[in-house]
């Protein structure tokens, strides 16, 4: 892009639309600050319904951003979610691109 707004348009185009969706951004943000979290924790923290949560996590899993595993907490099985390295990198890149877009906006 070589037009006058090239500096602004490049980062916008690079923004990951999968992460950009608010619910998925929130999920990625929670998973970014912890090592693992189970379904119930994410449900409680984000306020989503089970259906919404499952749908968004499935999309993130399909892209390879998260891994969903079954683990045992004591004797009880529970489903845990963790960011993959790819997901962590994608989230950091998303944050960087958003920052560049916002920083390059003209002053009011």
């Amino acid at each position: 892009m070589t037009d006058n707004s090239g500096e602004v348009r490049e980062p916008i185009i690079k923004i990951d639309r999968l992460i950009h969706e608010p619910s998925r951004y929130m999920l990625m943000a929670y998973l970014y600050v912890v090592e693992v979290a189970d379904f119930l924790f994410l449900l409680r923290q984000t306020g989503m319904t089970w259906g919404n949560l499952s749908t968004h996590l499935s999309k993130l899993q399909a892209t390879g951003y998260v891994v969903i595993e079954k683990e045992f907490l004591g004797k009880k099985p529970h489903t845990i979610v963790r960011l993959t390295d790819q997901g962590r990198n994608a989230f950091e890149e998303y944050r960087g691109n958003m920052k560049r877009v916002l920083d390059n906006l003209p002053a009011k």
Partner: protein
């Protein structure tokens, strides 16, 4: 900037969720009660025993009561090391306070000002440790608990209340607050029905 703030806020929310059940409050309250009983019965081992015993019981209760209601989270290895280090500092601080108390109270000769103001110094150090917990855990109500602990010594020195009753009073109030928080927590977060946990149901 907005990005940074929201991530910090999310991290804070996650940390705060650890204190939402009131169990740490009950743990602290019982520990302070233990100090009061130790002074009353001259059983110096009580605080240490209560610290260890209640700590392990509390984690068992968390698994049974808290995790089925708000879920489970595991922090990164770096965060876990930081939390462990802080708990170790806390534990060492409490141990040093206990040893100091035992040594100073055990030695025959001590300066008069130390004998006069020992409860204030002792409670002050305990209160400072609780303030440290309030600061790093970012749980403001722990500052109130620190104030209650310190007030116990103030009441003893200036109102003639027995020293151990200050601990028993402060510990009881803290346990009571913890129980109220726990009841609010149990009502706010009902246990999730097991079948709703099934992640294969899509």
């Amino acid at each position: 900037m907005v990005e940074e703030i929201s991530l910090k806020e999310i991290q804070r929310k996650v940390y705060m969720s650890l204190f939402e059940d009131g169990l740490w409050d009950i743990f602290l309250g019982l520990f302070i009660l233990g100090w009061g009983l130790a002074i009353l019965t001259e059983a110096a081992y009580l605080p240490g025993l209560s610290f260890i015993g209640i700590y392990f019981v509390m984690w068992g209760v968390k698994k049974w009561l808290t995790y089925p209601r708000i879920g489970y989270v595991r922090f990164s290895a770096t965060s876990r090391r930081r939390i462990t280090a802080r708990f170790l500092i806390l534990g060492v601080g409490v141990l040093l306070v206990g040893v100091m108390a035992a040594v100073l109270w055990g030695i025959g000769t001590r300066p008069q000002w130390l004998a006069d103001y020992f409860p204030l110094i002792f409670n002050g150090i305990l209160a400072a440790i609780v303030c440290f917990v309030a600061y790093w855990a970012r749980v403001n109500r722990f500052y109130l608990y620190a104030a209650l602990i310190f007030l116990g010594a103030v009441f003893h020195l200036w109102l003639g209340v027995r020293w151990e009753f200050g601990f028993i009073g402060a510990g009881s109030i803290i346990v009571l607050i913890g129980l109220v928080i726990l009841i609010i927590f149990l009502r706010k977060y009902p246990k999730m029905v097991e079948e709703a946990h099934d992640s294969d149901r899509q």
